[in-house]
């Protein structure tokens, strides 16, 4: 595994757009040009060379050492290779990512995986609001791929999400799966209030819900074959990161009946 390492010299004093620092984009750029890439978002025009010490050679991996909540759009548009961040990232990490692997060994800000269509995002810490959600100007949120958050996720995870799977080991905030069109959100701890508001299709899986919307209908307890398929798919794809397979029945709530009602909340407890 060869690649470049970007060591952050000091905490940035403005927000940075790091969408250019992916293995694919850096593969054909000479080091001198790489250092001149503008990553600042103010009129100062801060460059990579102003902020990072760069080492290594272009390859299939990029590593960013030293995180900050001001590192925005990390891994945006990633289509192959691996991007590792040793620390926190800001908003829009993995935005419109198409493939490869983004590993964040800290916390992620809002709109993690917005517009994600393929690949895997792993967050060691927690994620902000709108994980896999809709960014302004987009038609949908996440449309494919896998997101694993070891910690908590904020409000409105999966807002207008269409496909793919979000797995949260911790708790997911309020309004998870709002306006959802498809896909799966799985929490191992539970959902906040009003999950699935205006969802059309899709699946929310978790042990508890703080408050269920009145527009979800209790469909009773069921042993769903599709959950066995999902469990085995996640085990095959994620290995040790996969959730423990579900055993026994789940209680199904169908909704949101304020829309077409083809979505579902599956309570595992």
């Amino acid at each position: 595994m060869s690649g470049l390492t970007f060591r952050l010299s000091a905490a940035p004093d403005e927000r940075l757009d790091l969408s250019q620092l992916t293995p694919g984009r850096l593969a054909s750029i000479p080091l001198a040009d790489m250092l001149r890439l503008v990553v600042g978002t103010s009129k100062r025009g801060l460059t990579v060379g102003d902020l990072f010490a760069v080492s290594g050679k272009p390859g299939d991996t990029v590593k960013i050492e030293g995180g900050s909540s001001r590192l925005d759009f990390v891994g945006a548009g990633l289509d192959k290779g691996t991007l590792i961040v040793e620390g926190d990232v800001g908003v829009g990490a993995g935005r419109q990512m198409k493939g490869g692997r983004l590993e964040i060994r800290g916390d992620a800000g809002a709109l993690l995986a917005s517009g994600l269509s393929g690949g895997l995002i792993f967050v060691k810490g927690s994620a902000g609001g709108h994980v896999g959600g809709l960014s302004p100007g987009d038609k949908f949120g996440m449309t494919g791929g896998l997101v694993v958050v070891e910690g908590q996720a904020g409000d409105r995870a999966g807002d207008r999400m269409r496909r793919g799977t979000i797995l949260v080991r911790g708790r997911v905030g309020a309004f998870a799966g709002s306006r959802m069109v498809g896909g799966t959100i799985w929490t191992e701890i539970g959902f906040g209030a009003d999950p699935g508001m205006l969802m059309r299709r899709g699946t929310l899986i978790g042990p508890t819900v703080d408050k269920m919307l009145p527009t979800f209908a209790d469909s009773g307890k069921h042993d769903l074959v599709i959950l066995r398929v999902l469990s085995r798919y996640l085990t095959a794809t994620l290995g040790p990161l996969a959730p423990l397979p579900l055993s026994g029945t789940v209680r199904k709530f169908a909704g949101d009946l304020a829309t077409i009602g083809k979505g579902e909340i599956l309570l595992t407890a």
């Binding site: 498809g182 799966t184 769903l224 074959v225 066995r228 398929v229 999902l230 083809k262």
Partner: protein, 299 residues
């Protein structure tokens, strides 16, 4: 040439290029997976009269199936992908969807795909939903015992082979049947093949054409023991019966492996049960693209 007292004809089995597809059927128990597979395979002996040749390839352990339940792999063969697709749709729709606790998944991996759940999903009458996982899409069709889960497509291969065969001749009809049963069981250990006839065994081998207009095939009179003396018989004076095993496979190698397994079983078990000779069916080598010479496949 004799092996273990059984004469092996210097001839070959002539087989044809076909298209093949497959599905994995799971259920709450192996019994019910097999039940659905058996019904789906019904009336699937010969592509000429049935539209497809269908059979069980093998049973699958829970760890081999997409949903972790016991399963059965069924293979289906036809003349072309276009001919295979409607057979698959109808058989799955009528025989698998209807079977309690069943689910149905792609059983062949290949670039070329045909619809699997694309038709049966409409049974959901608008209540069906889909879930994509990786490259696969699964339909969930509400039914009276829960949900019927079915993958959207399955693979189809166009270099499959149909009509590989072995003829078993002997002087004890019951012994021949037992020998043929053992040979079919041996073929069961070979992956990617089926023996589509009842119990894997055919007693009505055919020749091309007939004296009757409209019949594309008729009895293979040269191998009918009761016609010895009336026709140009292929049978010796001691032969009282002939049984045939027909083999379809997803590849030519699979069919060759199956014939090899059958020959070994027949040679190991046949002499004591009245088997005197092994032969194969062909049309002079001019019709089928695949020739399997018996003596080259001896164990």
């Amino acid at each position: 040439m004799k092996v273990n007292g059984i004469a092996i004809d210097d001839t070959f089995a002539e087989a044809f290029g076909m298209s093949g597809t497959g599905v994995v059927i799971t259920a709450d128990s192996l019994r019910w997976a097999r039940q659905a597979a058996n019904v789906m395979s019904g009336f699937g002996t010969s592509v000429i009269g049935c539209g497809a040749e269908v059979g069980i390839d093998r049973e699958l352990k829970p760890e081999e199936t997409p949903d972790g339940r016991p399963g059965v792999r069924v293979l289906l063969f036809g003349f072309s992908p276009d001919a295979v697709a409607p057979q698959l749709k109808n058989r799955v729709g009528q025989c698998v969807l209807t079977s309690p606790g069943s689910a149905c998944y792609a059983g062949v991996e290949s670039e070329k795909r045909i619809g699997l759940g694309q038709g049966p999903r409409f049974f959901g009458d608008g209540f069906q939903t889909a879930k994509r996982m990786g490259k696969s899409r699964y339909w969930r069709v509400p039914v009276m015992d829960g949900e019927f889960v079915i993958e959207e497509t399955t693979g189809v291969v166009t270099d499959a082979v149909g009509g590989g065969n072995v003829l078993i001749l002997g002087n004890d009809r019951a012994g021949l049947l037992t020998t043929a049963e053992l040979a079919v069981a041996a073929i069961g250990d070979v992956p990617d093949v089926i023996t589509p006839f009842p119990g894997g065994i055919v007693r009505s081998g055919s020749k091309v054409g007939s004296k009757y207009k409209g019949m594309v095939a008729s009895t293979n009179d040269a191998f009918c023991p009761t016609l010895r003396g009336r026709v140009k018989s292929e049978l010796g004076p001691d032969t009282v019966a002939v049984l045939e095993i027909v083999i379809d496979g997803l590849s030519s190698k699979a069919v060759a492996d199956a014939i090899r397994a059958a020959l070994k079983s027949i040679i190991d078990n046949g002499a004591a049960k009245g088997v005197t000779r092994v032969s194969a069916g062909n049309y002079g080598g001019k019709l089928g693209q695949h020739h399997y010479h018996l003596r080259e496949l001896l164990p």
